[in-house]
């Protein structure tokens, strides 16, 4: 879709957005970094892809990119899905920057629904695409009320949702978009990443930026910031575990996707992070 645009190098600013817009987005990013977990409003622009496909993420990425950056884009952990491929090619075309599929080589990683398995460094930035930045939205429909709740840090309500989960299912049944407290202050949505990835946000050396294009919000988790997943004393936070290893690389520590093989019920599990899986196989760790 993005490839079909006839974008001449000379007709567009570097990285698509004009200088004024990038400056506005950068101001919002700076404010977001200064107040960890706080949702900063910004003037989201029309982008050449539909809202819900990562308009917030690519505006943040566009504002961050410099000529020497190397960009990696993943969608559900994979580098080769349509959304990831087209966003990566979009920036290769409008910014002329280098791209990569290797997490270690990237300076900016734009992601949807996952955090890479490979540990991130201080010189890397993680950009999340966020559909709904407000963690309270399912409980509080009005923006006026949710902002008051944030202002007074009156977050008992979020625990009501966990309570209801335990009462109904016997455990906390939220598997992704699991709410966190950032720096002991703001209740924050980690975007729809699996809760498996929540512990990676805690004291991560890399800067994490979250862009929600449709909802016009940017927020951030600065490097080495405390991130705590909500839980109860007697029902502590737990991540998903699998009884099998990745059938391609044999990894037991990674987040696994279940893949159906045929219509007879045969299935297998593979790493959702394709770059991690490929890297392990190159090193000869195949199962």
């Amino acid at each position: 879709m993005l490839d079909e645009l006839d974008i001449e190098d000379t007709a567009y600013s570097f990285a698509y957005l004009d200088a004024q817009t990038k400056r506005m987005v950068r101001r919002s990013i700076l404010k977001a970094v200064a107040i960890p977990g706080y949702q900063v409003p910004f003037g989201s622009r029309e982008m050449p892809l539909p809202p819900g496909w990562g308009t917030g993420g690519i505006q943040v990425t566009a504002a961050l990119l410099g000529r020497d950056d190397r960009l990696k884009v993943i969608d559900q952990g994979a580098d080769d899905t349509a959304n990831a491929v087209s966003i990566r090619r979009f920036f290769a075309r409008v910014a002329g920057i280098a791209t990569t599929e290797r997490t270690e080589e990237a300076t900016i990683v734009q992601t949807r629904h996952r955090i890479p398995e490979a540990p991130l460094r201080e010189d890397q930035i993680l950009v999340f695409q966020v559909p709904q930045p407000e963690p309270l939205r399912r409980l509080v429909p009005e923006e006026f009320h949710s902002r008051r709740i944030h202002a007074f840090a009156n977050y008992g309500l979020m625990h009501v949702m966990l309570y209801e989960n335990i009462a109904r299912y016997g455990h906390i049944a939220m598997s992704h978009n699991y709410p966190v407290r950032v720096h002991g202050r703001y209740l924050t949505s980690p975007s729809p990443i699996p809760k498996f990835d929540n512990p990676k946000l805690h004291r991560n050396p890399a800067l994490a930026l979250f862009g929600a294009g449709r909802e016009r919000r940017i927020y951030a988790i600065p490097p080495y910031t405390d991130v705590k997943s909500l839980d109860f004393d007697d029902y502590p936070f737990e991540v998903q575990r699998w009884s099998t290893a990745c059938s391609l690389c044999g990894a037991t520590e990674s987040y696994l996707d279940e893949v159906l093989l045929d219509d007879k019920g045969n299935r297998t599990f593979v790493c959702s992070d394709t770059a991690y899986c490929a890297g392990r196989r190159e090193k000869g760790a195949a199962a």
Binding site: A151, F152, N154, Y155, G156, L157, H159, V160, Y163, E164, I166, A167, R168, D231, F232, D233, D234, Y235
Partner: protein, 259 residues
């Protein structure tokens, strides 16, 4: 009766909506364990006064001193908003006329009762659960309904659930806005019975706003009659109702239908 210190001290509260006077120079003192009834016709400023006491509305002038645990006597009018939001729920809770304003319909009964406790930082599911069960029994809701959504409850049950949710934090002061409004007579009678029992047993101070004289007759020690934003008569409940002095109070007392 032994001398008890005041839990609520209201001094010269004024509230106007433009030219309309809602409350004018209202002053009263409420002591621990005392129940004050406020009656008056529609538009006499009862609900406005109650909303001021609950910190939901800022009066134009006057002082409202509340004895807040940990803070002592504090003027909630002068207090900053963030502090008030944090401190006031420790001291008092508000029972709305319509239970749908005071509970969450899409949340189970147990969740509704536990929410104020979680707001105070209680984080043990098992404890919350047993407190919720205890309060369901207190307000005569079958413990088996703990996981039913509040939406599935009848009006009377929803009102009892709201009362449980308001009392679970053991506030010293409860404000009630027409607690029996919109309920049928037999349900009203049961609810009044329950409220009277709880208030007496827990030694809670309460302000009950109503236009139903039977409610104040049963619940209130003292009575305040309001008309056009002013307090026109005040005294012991039986005294005011049996020997009304002000013409409006006389009208009010004589307007009650005898069954």
């Amino acid at each position: 009766m032994s001398a008890r210190e005041p839990i609520l001290d209201v001094r010269n509260v004024d509230k106007r909506y433009g030219e309309t006077v809602a409350c004018e120079d209202v002053s009263f003192t409420l002591r621990r364990g005392e129940v004050l009834g406020i009656v008056g016709e529609s538009g006499s400023g009862k609900t406005t006064l109650l909303r001021c006491l609950a910190g939901r509305l800022a009066p134009d002038s006057g002082e409202i001193l509340v004895d807040i645990p940990g803070l002592g006597r504090s003027d909630i009018v002068a207090m900053d908003e963030a502090r008030r939001e944090q401190a006031l729920p420790l001291a008092l809770s508000l029972v709305h006329q319509n239970p749908r304003d005071g509970i969450r319909l899409d949340i189970s009964a147990g969740g509704n009762i536990s929410e104020p406790l979680m707001g105070q930082g209680r984080r043990h599911y098992g404890d919350l659960r047993s407190v919720a069960l205890h309060w369901l029994k207190r307000v005569e809701i079958a413990p088996g309904r703990i996981d039913s959504l509040a939406r599935t409850f009848s009006g009377g049950m929803q009102q009892r659930l709201q009362i449980a949710r308001c009392l679970v934090t053991h506030p010293q002061l409860v404000l009630m806005d027409e607690p029996t409004g919109g309920l049928d007579v037999s349900v009203q009678a049961r609810l009044l019975d329950l409220l009277r029992g709880l208030v007496r047993e827990l030694g809670i101070a309460a302000v009950v706003v109503t236009h139903d004289l039977a409610v104040v007759r049963l619940l209130a020690d003292r009575l305040m009659v309001m008309q056009r934003g002013r307090v026109i008569e005040e005294g012991l409940t039986d005294q005011v109702l049996d020997d009304p002095h002000h013409p409006y109070t006389q009208l009010l007392a004589s307007s009650v239908l005898q069954a």
